[in-house]
């Protein structure tokens, strides 16, 4: 898919962006921290509409995203283009997830949800604690000039990240995650994109909403997104990871909500779930890996601890084996 075919001639030429919008987009120079900060900010403050392909391990999905920033308020529409129809409309942290087939709209509050290109959740100083940040080469991607930002982990507790930041706006057009052997295990890449004020506010409104006369509203996820004391903690948390929140989530087939503790190092998040080890108790540890996603399960007395995140297995094991009751 060539950008000039699909973007309808509204591509921002970086040179033009620099020339016209220079006041707002100061040239970032050679400081990798500044580039990183700019990339994080660009995903929030720019308006853009595009399609990206996400490949993680064996799985691939194509997603349409439209993002508009108005007076500091973010509005976003996300539509996975594979599988049953589904649409997520986001206004800052409020998420509305439409399932036309089930005639259901699910309300939630963004906690861990992370959508490309907004993959940086922390300040650059937090990231600098866990990653060595450097500038890589420049490359032409999707018709735009891009600067690669390299984030190499300072320990073995996380994967390396590569972000391709568009020179004019800072927007990340491509992101890769590498394993310890420098092999790409996850990748996001725009295949079509327009950036700038051409993206109308109407484009971030729900398309599916009008298709169903009477929506069933499920507000339970939004209620459950509130922080609570779960009574559990992680005793040895890898350097750089900080607790985001803890809450209780309903999972299918469980009579009671499950405790969920959420940690982040600024780029990747991990969730720790604790639930009763029933009705058929597991007696041994087990794990599964695919792309960057690692799942580790461990029985703990009458409970079952599950760790899920975009982390190496060793990290999931370290975290999972150090879950204890809060004293």
């Amino acid at each position: 898919m060539r950008p000039r075919d699909s973007a309808g001639g509204v591509r921002w030429l970086p040179a033009l962006a620099l020339g016209v919008a220079c006041a707002a987009q100061a040239a970032p120079g050679n400081d990798p921290q500044v580039w990183l900060q700019r990339a994080a900010q660009a995903a929030r403050s720019n308006s853009y509409a595009g399609t990206f392909v996400h490949t993680n391990g064996d799985r691939t999905s194509t997603v349409r995203i439209t993002h508009v920033s108005v007076n500091g308020d973010e509005q976003e529409r996300i539509e996975p283009l594979d599988g049953p129809p589904l649409e997520i409309v986001r206004r800052n942290d409020e998420m509305f997830c439409y399932f036309p087939d089930a005639q259901t709209v699910r309300l939630d509050r963004r906690v861990t949800a992370r959508f490309f290109p907004a993959i940086l959740s922390a300040t650059t100083s937090t990231l600098a604690a866990s990653y060595e940040v450097k500038l890589g080469r420049t490359e032409r991607v999707l018709g735009y000039d891009c600067q690669w930002i390299r984030l190499d982990p300072k320990d073995s507790m996380r994967f390396a990240q590569r972000l391709c930041s568009e020179v004019g706006t800072g927007l990340v057009l491509r992101a890769k995650t590498l394993n310890e052997r420098q092999q790409v295990i996850e990748q996001y890449t725009f295949t079509e994109l327009k950036v700038g004020p051409h993206v109308a506010r109407s484009e971030v409104k729900s398309i599916f909403e009008a298709r169903v006369k009477k929506w069933i509203t499920d507000a339970q996820p939004r209620e459950e997104a509130k922080s609570v004391e779960t009574g559990w903690m992680v005793a040895s948390l890898p350097t750089g990871f900080q607790k985001v929140t803890e809450l209780r989530r309903s999972l299918p087939g469980r009579p009671h909500p499950v405790a969920q503790l959420i940690f982040s190092d600024g780029i990747v998040t991990l969730s720790v779930f604790v639930e009763p080890n029933a009705p058929a108790p597991r007696t041994a540890e087990a794990s599964s890996e695919d792309g960057t996603t690692t799942f580790f399960v461990r029985p703990l007395g009458e409970h079952l601890v599950s760790v899920l995140g975009e982390i190496p297995l060793a990290t999931a094991q370290l975290v999972g084996r150090s879950v204890v009751r809060r004293p």
């Binding site: 339970q220 058929a280 996603t293």
Partner: protein
Amino acid sequence: MTQDLSSLMDGELAAGEAERTIRACSTSADEKATWYLYHAIGDSMRGQAPRRLAMPDEVIESLKAQPTVLAPRRPLHQSTFARVALAAAASVATIGVVGWIGSQGGSVPAIAKSNSAIQPVANKSNVANPALDVQDYLAAHRQIPSAELYRPVNNRAPTPGR
């Protein structure tokens, strides 16, 4: 029909359609061959050893005609789009990861969804430890509910419409 088979493997068919597809599959030699072929492709793409099944000769023949994808789990390559095509062909393309942990103590690569009729042979003796569906945890972690996951909501008492 092949689309139906593919959907069946992904657990995406309604009960009636699934029954019809399974019946077609168990009566038609062609459908049966396709069924074996899809699983062989799926297994090899997930880096699993091919399961021990008495594979009909025509399956072996059609496998020979397939492009070579029988490599162990590989990292992504530059040729992402070739992989996209392969993934779509074997109908494993979903948003996020599906999979489960079935065996005790072992590491099992992500495989088909838990409500699929297909279970790895190794799991069948493991009744005391039912498969954990990674999808449940993944949906909670990413806050991206799948349509399939959503079904239980109908059993809850939903809040009246907005």
